[in-house]
Amino acid sequence: MDESFNGFAAKVVPYLNVMTRIEGHPDDDLMTEKGYRGHPTLAFLDADGVVLGRPLARTVKSFEETLQAIGDLAKLDAREAKGEKGLEYERFLLEYLVMKLRGANLTKRGLALKGLDETRQARVDEIVLGVEVDALVLQSLGDAEALAKAGRRMLEILESGRCPKMEESANAWSILARHGEAVEDAALIERCAAGLRKNFPDEERMTSWASSLEKKAAAIRAR
């Protein structure tokens, strides 16, 4: 957490919940009570403990965006309650930003949006492509062939530049890096290392992973 976090933290009440398994430790099961399973998880709750949303990424920028989207979603509810129509794109985008829409449901809602202008359509395409990236992450956990297939598709998406969200996914970099190692593509491995350094500058294990990739790329180049 850098200095910019403090600016964001002033707008919320930051609460750290550490699951300990210590007998009698208060709120040890709060996360599971809220319906989450994996650690770490970040979430915005109201003062009554109702979950309002989750950030898409572990960056202060994303925290700020989610906080803004939660407020905008409440305003959108009010506009719709007054009878305003044609807000499907706005709702889609905001529900995506607070992670209320995910996976197949996100794709379905995105593809159902019609008559959008070029900018909005591009945004929807990017989001839908992000769902594909998530699916590729799962696909890559299969055998070597599945990894190669996922790696090739990931590379296509990366090179198309149409899915910036992919760059914030450690799993995506992992698949690309493993694909790069399998096909001995030093440039791709270096690109992964640079991607990790750019997107996870404060995470030691990521920078350490980047260093290890740089060494592997250098070894391939030295052959």
């Binding site: 957490m1 976090f5 403090n6 964001f8 933290a9 707008k11 919320v12 009440v13 930051p14 609460y15 750290l16 919940n17 550490v18 699951m19 300990t20 398994r21 210590i22 007998e23 430790h25 208060p26 709120d27 709060l30 996360m31 809220k34 989450y36 650690h39 770490p40 998880t41 970040l42 979430a43 915005f44 709750l45 109201d46 003062a47 009554d48 403990g49 309002l52 925290f63 906080l67 939660i70 995470e203 294990r205």
Partner: protein, 96 residues
């Protein structure tokens, strides 16, 4: 007399049988108590380890610098008073 003897024998037999059964049971109970004692000790040790892991986690730089509250009730009260949302970081002692 024979019947009495038989009864006596039966009583004797039951006593012997009870003792024979009780002995291993007693040993088993004693063994179980020992095992339970060890488990309790191990449990206490594990709890102490968990406490130590928690303290290490809470001593990390980001906790102090980020102004994180550690009491959920207090965080909810503060959120209500200041009309803010809670930003919750769910983690474990060994998770990032």
């Amino acid at each position: 007399m024979r019947r009495l003897c038989t009864l006596e024998n039966m009583k004797y037999g039951i006593t012997v049988l009870t003792l024979l059964m009780a002995a291993p049971l007693g040993l088993a109970t004693s063994a179980a108590q020992t095992a339970r004692g060890t488990t309790q000790e191990e449990g206490a040790e594990r709890q102490a380890e968990l406490q130590s892991e928690l303290e290490k986690k809470l001593a990390k730089d980001f906790v102090g610098k980020g102004g994180w509250l550690l009491d959920y009730g207090k965080a909810c009260t503060e959120a209500a008073e200041e009309k803010k949302l809670l930003f919750v970081y769910f983690t474990r002692t060994f998770a990032p």
